[in-house]
Each structure stands twice: as structure tokens, then as C-alpha cells.
């Protein structure tokens, strides 16, 4: 880590808590979000959705709606050139084989979940569009559905699709689990349940589409993935280079804007009408129909020796995919790989399954399958420690992975694992214990660690590209297809380029997230954007710098290696300077490019054989430890979080303020998951389709989160950064559960940890 510190000292802009350019725009509301867009002659769109979770469409009649004054078009499945959205799931699952996740753009003969889109309307006003939706006549024949994965996998269960309801299964086996458990000093068994939750970004799914003057179907929307322009082209059956997606600055994404949302509908409607069309989902629609986080049932048997070292974990996971596959198979893979936690466990068996049901579909959400497992493995570890009389930090210190260790899946950990330090620092950051303020109040503390992959699965051969170029006046332009979800993605790219090219930050313009005009950089998902686009900009800027300094060396005499770029100048070792504008003029004269397009390829690998545990799945991981202090009202079960500290090794903080923001925001989302959030579904009907019933934390529900930023100087991102987008959401639920047990002796195994569940665990309702 000494080298890392030395490197940091040499940095000028990277590592500084610089003000993000987008923050200035946002405080004056200059940022034009997807819905803040209007074009002359624009139509407004609305979606007809299924009220039933499982039904046959017997009759679908649009005549009355179509005939209404002001209605431009009504579309159903038969009007869609290719009515399928498809994602290949790479790699082969254990039991089901190669997967292709498909869904219909609009329902054909069946609906499989409440809220499934059945028809589209575009009309002169939004009110008219909604009136027309009501005027569409649909006759449904309700069919039997399945509403839990257990029921879905039972013999004779009604199939959600043509095949069986098992969507995917992954298995890992390493070491002799039965023998290790038999020889363990302590064996802890636990069953945990996690709930369905929603990304609940404040900006609903929204966008505007138009056919541009060159005939290109252009869709400006809130998305984490501009590459869906290809999916839209497939649906419309037009060449892929005739669809352009412009991604706006997002009002939050958290994985919920990773799959296709409004873009296919907008593409269809603008193509059919020839007019600009706007679609903004209501909050109700968003909560009803957007893919959510998978609920899991997790069964664990954990064996440890007398020193508290885990000797074996036997793990069974069962997840609910809802009605369509989306990214479920991959979410489950993340769970499988992370199921034993960031610990050395010599013997591990994981059997993970995900099933189709007629519940709301589930897919990506911040944490992506590496989250549900934290609640289980960290609860288990705490119970082991309790059984052996060990303290929470000590049990994690003895078990923590170290560089060179092999995960159950067969992947060798190649970077520093800071778990012991993170535990100590998070625990210490809570400060002196709080005294209980009344006799019926108990106070306790809990700790939880996690590890979260960053970057895509290695056999996806991930890459990102960026364009960096100087204008003649010495100002700099960055073009990169990276969507900015609010985490400071674009701003970090500026810092990286400024560092390499010595340009003042205010002289940089960054253009992101346009499939036609910015080089593609992949999705803002999987905690990969700083890692991938950051590396792309770093590589591109370095290559550009090398070319420019070659010219500068000829101008100044001497070797290019002896030159630096700083404060918009080239500087020699002996203190001479050359203004950047002068260098650029010379480049123009001698024909050396002032811009450069670069591509960064992530380390790639072949699909692993999980059964034999033979290889690499993810590029690397980010490790964390969170500590919570809670008070429990032992008369009502109400839990209040008094103090919270979250420590992560981020490798290198490009912008420490943004890093802290990611950690604090992720931790509070995790607290929402732990304490209150739940999409309540009864027989496939969602009972939480408003923000009055789907509750996310307010400022008054959570304490300050102390972010502890640890920089090991080891990571695969630019300047050795690690991804930090997803990791902080993982530990809170487990930290809270562990703190509650410390306070009261009651163990909560079901999320969210509502006051009633605590009251029941305390025996108050017996």
C-alpha cells in the first residue's frame, strides 16, 4: 500500500473532492430530464395493462378507442413488426441449459402478470390517451396462476410458459461438506427470507421519440443502457443504424432502467404516426409493472471449528423470477458465487434455483443477487460467533479471504482484501456506545461485511470506448457512451482526463450517452462504469497525450518523457512552458491528430464449469463492512437506527465526495430494504402501487451515515479504483439484524424487519 500512497501524492485532480459540473446544473434545474422535453406536434402515449396476473385474452377490440377524436393510433401485438424482446444469457446453467430470455412487447394470447402491457395509445393529450386506454375492450379468461416459487416447482403446477417453471439452476460443490459439518464444533442452521422490492427512483420511466430530419428514429429517454437501440430496431424491423438512443441524465436508475422500459413503445408509436411521442409512466405504473428485486428463500448450514473458522457451508437458494426471465439467470449466478461470503470456506455446496411465477417480474437492481445472500451469510456468521463467545470483529478477522485464496466457484482473489481493517474501522466509527434512554429501550450494535463484483462477467468480453479531443483554444471535449445515473459518472471522466492532460476542469465539456454520437461504452450497471469508461478515457487520454508530447518535444527540444502537462500548458523539467494552444496550432501544422478514439478491453475469460469450480467469473470484487447501532423498543418492537458507519475499500477514490455519496446513499437504500420496503403481492396482485404504500426511507427515518473510505491502491479501474456503485447496499439489513440480536437476543430472519416482526420475535404477541 506504500506505492499507492506515493501514487496518490503525485495526483493533482484525481483524488480531489471537486465540484461536479452536473451539480451546478441540477441546483438551478437546468438539467433537462427525459420528461422535461417537448416537441411541436408531440403526441402523448399511454399503456393498457393487464389487471390479472394470469389470464387468456379472449377478445381485444380497439375500434372504439381508435375512433375517438384526438386519438392518433392504438396498437396491439399484431401491429408490432417483431413482437419479441430477447436477451441471450451467456454461459450454461446447471440444469436448464442455454437460455434466451424473451418477452413480448405487447401481450398476445396470454398475460402472465398484473400490469403486463396489452395495448398502446398515442393521442393529442395525455388525458385523451388515458380515456382511449379505458375505451379499449378486453375480455380476459382468468387462468390458474402460481404465486410462490415453491408452488411453481411443485408437481402439476400450471406452467407460466410452455416449459416447466424452473428458469435456471446453478450448483457449486467444493470440498466434502458432509464430513466437514460432521467434524465441526458448532453447526448453525438458518432459513432466511428476503422480500420483493422496487428501485423506486424518483424519476419515473420516461422519454420522447421522434423521427429526425435524416429519418433516424430518435428516442431520448431515461436509461442505463443506450445499447437497447438495437433491441428497438429488432422490434421495429429496421436496420440497427436507423435507431438512435439519446440517454438523458437520469433521475435515478439503481438497475430498474437497465432493461427496456419505454423505448420500444416510443419507437413503435413514432414510427406508426410519424409524429413525436412522449411517454411518462405514472408512479402507479412504475410500481406495478417495472421489474424488481428478486425475493429469496435462503437455507444455510454453517459449521465452524473452536477458533470460529468456518469449515463448511451448505446453501440452498430459491428465488422468484416473476413472470418473465429478464436477467434472472445472471442474478442467480451472482448469488451463487457470493453465497459463502467474503470468507475462506474449504467446503461449500450451493444449490440455487429460480422459478417462474405469476408475480411481478424481477431483474436487475443495485446489488444484483449479491445482496440477498449477505443477509443470510452475515446472520449465520454472527450466530457462529455468538455460539462461540467471539466478538463480531474477531470472527470476521479469522475468516476473511486473503489475496491468493480461492472462492468456492474456483476464482482466485487477485487483489487485496481489506475486510479486517474495514471491520475495525467501521466498528470504531460508531464511537462511544449510546445509553438506553428508557427502561423499555435496549441498545445494541451489529456488524456485517460483504463483497460485490464490479465489472461484467469475464466471458462477456466487456469493452468500453471513448473519444477525447482538444479544440483549437485548448478546451477539451470528451465523448463517451456512458449513461450518467446521478452517481457522478460523467464528472469522474472529466477528472481522469484532466489528470492526464493537465486541463483545467472548467475547460472540459463531456458528452455522454448518445448511441449515434458518442463511442459506445456499455451499460451503467454492474458497478462497471468508472471501471470501464474510466479506463477507456484514461487509456485514450494517455494515448492522445503521447502524440501531443511528441510534437511538444520537437518544439521544446529534449525527450517527450521529460515533459508534463499541467494547468493547460506543457511543462519541462527545467521549468520552461508551452501554452496548450501553441502546441495545438503546431499539431495542426504538422498533421498530428488533436483527438483520439480509444477502446479499453476488460480482462476476459472462458465460461467456468461451476461443478468443478475451475475459473474466473468476475474481474474483481469490492469489499465492505458496515456497523450499526440500534435501539429497540421492547414494548412495541420498533427499531430506530441510532448510528451507522459504512467502510469500503474503493482502491482509489477518484472523487472522495462522490464516493462518500455512493456509500451513504447505498447504505440508506439498504436500510430501507432492511427496515421497511416491501412490494406486497397477494395472489399476484400488487398492493403497493403508490408511494403512500411502498415506503422508502425519509430523512427522519435514518441517521447520518459515516462513510469510511479506505484506499488500498488496488483495483482494476483507473488509478486502481474499484467499483462502488452497488457494494454499499449489501450489508445494512444484516447489520441491523445483528444489532437487534445484540440488543435483545431476538434473531430476525425475515425482511423487512418491521416492528411487528420484532414484536413477535420478542414474544410480545404470544
Amino acid at each position: 500500500m506504500t506505492d499507492a500512497v506515493a501514487t496518490r501524492d503525485a495526483l493533482r485532480i484525481v483524488g480531489q473532492p471537486v465540484v461536479r459540473h452536473d451539480a451546478r446544473d441540477k441546483v438551478v434545474a437546468a438539467t433537462a430530464y427525459a420528461a422535461d422535453w417537448a416537441l411541436p406536434g408531440m403526441l402523448h402515449a399511454a399503456v393498457l395493462r393487464s389487471p390479472y396476473p394470469s389470464a387468456r385474452i379472449v377478445r381485444l377490440e380497439t375500434k372504439r378507442a381508435t375512433a375517438m377524436a384526438g386519438v392518433a393510433v392504438v396498437l396491439t401485438a399484431k401491429d408490432v413488426p417483431r413482437n419479441t424482446l430477447a436477451t441471450d444469457v451467456p454461459g450454461q446453467t446447471t440444469a436448464v441449459g442455454p437460455l434466451r430470455a424473451t418477452l413480448h412487447v405487447l401481450a398476445e394470447d396470454r398475460v402472465r402478470h398484473q400490469g403486463e402491457p396489452v395495448a398502446l395509445v398515442a393521442a393529442e393529450t395525455l388525458e385523451l390517451a388515458r380515456d382511449a386506454v379505458e375505451a379499449i375492450e378486453v375480455e380476459y379468461e382468468v387462468t390458474p396462476g402460481v404465486f410462490t416459487p415453491e408452488a411453481a416447482l411443485a408437481p402439476g403446477a400450471p406452467p407460466v410458459h410452455g416449459t416447466g417453471n424452473l428458469l435456471a439452476q446453478w450448483r457449486i460443490a467444493r470440498g466434502d461438506v458432509a464430513k466437514a459439518l460432521a467434524g465441526a464444533n458448532v453447526v448453525v442452521e438458518g432459513e432466511y427470507t428476503t422480500q420483493l422490492v422496487d428501485a423506486a427512483y424518483l424519476e419515473p420511466e420516461s422519454g420522447v421519440a421522434w423521427i429526425d430530419s435524416d429519418g433516424v428514429i430518435t428516442i431520448r429517454l431515461s436509461t442505463q443502457v443506450i445499447e437497447h437501440f438495437r433491441d428497438v430496431a429488432e422490434v421495429l424491423q429496421v436496420p440497427q443504424n436507423r435507431v438512435r438512443v439519446i440517454g438523458t441524465y437520469l433521475g435515478g436508475g439503481f438497475g430498474g432502467k437497465e432493461d427496456v422500459t419505454v423505448e420500444a413503445y416510443l419507437g413503435l408509436l413514432t414510427l406508426k404516426t410519424g409524429r413525436p411521442v412522449k411517454m411518462v409512466w405514472t408512479r402507479q405504473e412504475s410500481l406495478l409493472s417495472r421489474a424488481k428485486r428478486h425475493p429469496y428463500r435462503l437455507r444455510y448450514r454453517t459449521g465452524a471449528n473452536a477458533h470460529g473458522e468456518i469449515v463448511a457451508q451448505q446453501i440452498e437458494l430459491l428465488a422468484d423470477a416473476g413472470a418473465y426471465a429478464y436477467l434472472s439467470a445472471l442474478v442467480l449466478l451472482y448469488s451463487t458465487v457470493t453465497a459463502a461470503g467474503p470468507y475462506r470456506v474449504p467446503a461449500v455446496e450451493v444449490d440455487a434455483r429460480v422459478a417462474y411465477t405469476n408475480n411481478p417480474p424481477t431483474s436487475a437492481m443495485r446489488g444484483f443477487g449479491a445482496m440477498q445472500t449477505v443477509f443470510a451469510y452475515e446472520s449465520q456468521l454472527d450466530r457462529v460467533a455468538r455460539a462461540l463467545g467471539m466478538d463480531p470483529v474477531a470472527v470476521r478477522r479469522v475468516n476473511a479471504l486473503r489475496r491468493g485464496d480461492t472462492l468456492p466457484v474456483g476464482q482466485v482473489i487477485e487483489t487485496h482484501v481489506a475486510i479486517p481493517e474495514l471491520c475495525e474501522r467501521a466498528w470504531a466509527a460508531l464511537g462511544p456506545p449510546t445509553a438506553a434512554r428508557a427502561p423499555h429501550i435496549k441498545v445494541g450494535r451489529g456488524l456485517a461485511c460483504n463483497f460485490q463484483p464490479y465489472g461484467r462477467i469475464v466471458w462477456l468480453h466487456d469493452w468500453a470506448s471513448a473519444w477525447v479531443g482538444f479544440e483549437m483554444d485548448g478546451s477539451l471535449v470528451i465523448r463517451c457512451g456512458c449513461p450518467d445515473v446521478g452517481g457522478g459518472q460523467a464528472s469522474s471522466l472529466c477528472q481522469i482526463a484532466a489528470e492526464v492532460l493537465g486541463v483545467t476542469l472548467t475547460r472540459i465539456s463531456v458528452h455522454v450517452s448518445d448511441s449515434a454520437l458518442t463511442p459506445l461504452a456499455g451499460t451503467t450497471t454492474a458497478s462497471r462504469q468508472l471501471y470501464m469508461s474510466g479506463n477507456a478515457v484514461l487509456k485514450t487520454a494517455r494515448e492522445l497525450r503521447a502524440g501531443l508530447l511528441g510534437v511538444a518535444a520537437a518544439m521544446l527540444g529534449g525527450d517527450a518523457d521529460d515533459l508534463d502537462m499541467d494547468e493547460d500548458r506543457v511543462v519541462t523539467r527545467d521549468g520552461r512552458t508551452l501554452a496548450i494552444a501553441g502546441l495545438l496550432a503546431e499539431c495542426a501544422r504538422v498533421g498530428v491528430p488533436r483527438s483520439h478514439l480509444g477502446v479499453y478491453h476488460a480482462p476476459a475469460g472462458e465460461p467456468v464449469d461451476l461443478a468443478t469450480g475451475s475459473g474466473k467469473v468476475f474481474p474483481d470484487y469490492t469489499f465492505g463492512a458496515h456497523a450499526a447501532e440500534v435501539e429497540v423498543d421492547t414494548e412495541t418492537g420498533l427499531v430506530r437506527v441510532l448510528g451507522y458507519a459504512a467502510a469500503h475499500d474503493v482502491g482509489r477514490a477518484i472523487n472522495p465526495q462522490s464516493v462518500e455519496g455512493q456509500i451513504q446513499g447505498g447504505a440508506v437504500q439498504g436500510l430501507g430494504y432492511g427496515l421497511m420496503e416491501e412490494v406486497v403481492v397477494e395472489n399476484g396482485i400488487n398492493l403497493t402501487t403508490s408511494f403512500a404504500t411502498y415506503l422508502i426511507p425519509t430523512a427522519a427515518d435514518v441517521p447520518d451515515v459515516r462513510a469510511v473510505v479506505v484506499e488500498s491502491g488496488e483495483g482494476l479501474g483507473p488509478f486502481n479504483a474499484r467499483g462502488i456503485g452497488e457494494p454499499p447496499i449489501g450489508p445494512p439489513a444484516a447489520a441491523i439484524a445483528n444489532a437487534i440480536e445484540a440488543a435483545t437476543g431476538a434473531r430476525i430472519t425475515r425482511l423487512p424487519i418491521t416492528a411487528e416482526r420484532v414484536a413477535r420475535a420478542l414474544g410480545l404477541l404470544d
Binding site: 473532492p17 465540484v19 461536479r20 452536473d22 451539480a23 451546478r24 446544473d25 441540477k26 441546483v27 438551478v28 434545474a29 438539467t31 433537462a32 430530464y33 420528461a35 422535461d36 417537448a38 388525458e127 423506486a200 427512483y201 424518483l202 424519476e203 419515473p204 441524465y249 437520469l250 433521475g251 435515478g252 439503481f254 411518462v280 405514472t282 408512479r283 445515473v485 446521478g486 452517481g487 457522478g488 465526495q657 462522490s658 462518500e660 455519496g661 451513504q664 446513499g665 447505498g666 447504505a667 440508506v668 437504500q669 403508490s690 408511494f691 403512500a692 422508502i696 425519509t698 430523512a699 427522519a700 427515518d701 435514518v702 447520518d704 451515515v705 462513510a707
Partner: protein, 156 residues
């Protein structure tokens, strides 16, 4: 029908539909996009405006019923083209991530500080309880408000 209001200091008369909300009047009719739409039921706070100095959900106010009252949106805070010091505090303290809650947060904070100029962190949290933020976890928002309050008192 005609809605009458004083918008950011300027008297306005605007043709509206009876079922049009203040939010729709601002965004759809007047193109004032500094007011956001988030839930249409007054819970999330992104459509907050000040009505006679008090925060309201513009999605829950009928435009037709404004009766000449004063409406302030974020752009009403502008000071000679520069940032309001509270906006500056939000920028400097990293209180803005996706930014979708920011206009409502700023307006709610200012209305609150009018009535309670020296709040502690707990009071700030209680005052902002009706404005949801899904990105920041609130810590840096409270930091920014606290810094602004200190600055006003000459300690910053």
C-alpha cells in the same frame, strides 16, 4: 377558464382546464420544468412549490383555484443571475446526485428556515421528512443545510 397567480413575482393569467393541476399548468402550459413530477399524490416532494411562502405539492393543487396567490418555483430563487447561497451549499457539500429531488428540497428548506432559522440536524431532518431522496441517503443534504445556516450566522 382563467387561472390567476403571481408566478415568481410576476402576475399571470393563464387559460386552464378545470381539471388541470398547478403542476400541469407549470410544466405543460408554461414549460417551467424546474418543477418535477414524481408520484401525483403529494408523497414524494419533487413537485414542491411555495404557495404564499409555504410548501405545497403542486400536483395536489387545482390551477383554477389559485385566486391570485403567489407561487414560487426554483427559478424564483435566482439572485442577479447567480446561485442562491443554499444552492451553493448543496453544490459544495455534494448534496446533489441525480438531482431530481433537488428543486423540492431547496424550496422546502428555505420555507422551513424562514420559520426556524437555527435548526439542529435533527430538526433539519424532521423538516425534510416529506421530500424523498433515493440517492444521497440525506447525510450530505443535511450537511449542506447546516453549512448554509452556519454561513448565515457568520461562522462559515
Amino acid at each position: 377558464m382563467i387561472a390567476r397567480l403571481v408566478l415568481n413575482g410576476r402576475p399571470r393569467e393563464v387559460e386552464v382546464r378545470p381539471n388541470q393541476t398547478l403542476l400541469e399548468l407549470l410544466r405543460d402550459t408554461l414549460g417551467i420544468f424546474d418543477v418535477k413530477e414524481g408520484c401525483d399524490e403529494g408523497v414524494c416532494g419533487v413537485c414542491t412549490v411555495l404557495l404564499d411562502g409555504r410548501p405545497v405539492s403542486s400536483c395536489l393543487v387545482l390551477a383554477a383555484g389559485l385566486r391570485g396567490r403567489a407561487v414560487v418555483t426554483l427559478r424564483g430563487l435566482e439572485r442577479n443571475g447567480g446561485l442562491h447561497p443554499l444552492q451553493e451549499a448543496f453544490v459544495r457539500h455534494g448534496a446533489v446526485q441525480c438531482g431530481f429531488c433537488t428543486p423540492g428540497m431547496l424550496l422546502t428548506t428555505l420555507a422551513f428556515l424562514e420559520r426556524e432559522p437555527r435548526p439542529d440536524r435533527e430538526a433539519i431532518r424532521a423538516a425534510l421528512e416529506g421530500n424523498l431522496c433515493r440517492c444521497t441517503g440525506y447525510t450530505k443534504i443535511v450537511d449542506a443545510v447546516e453549512a448554509y445556516v452556519r454561513g448565515e450566522l457568520g461562522h462559515d
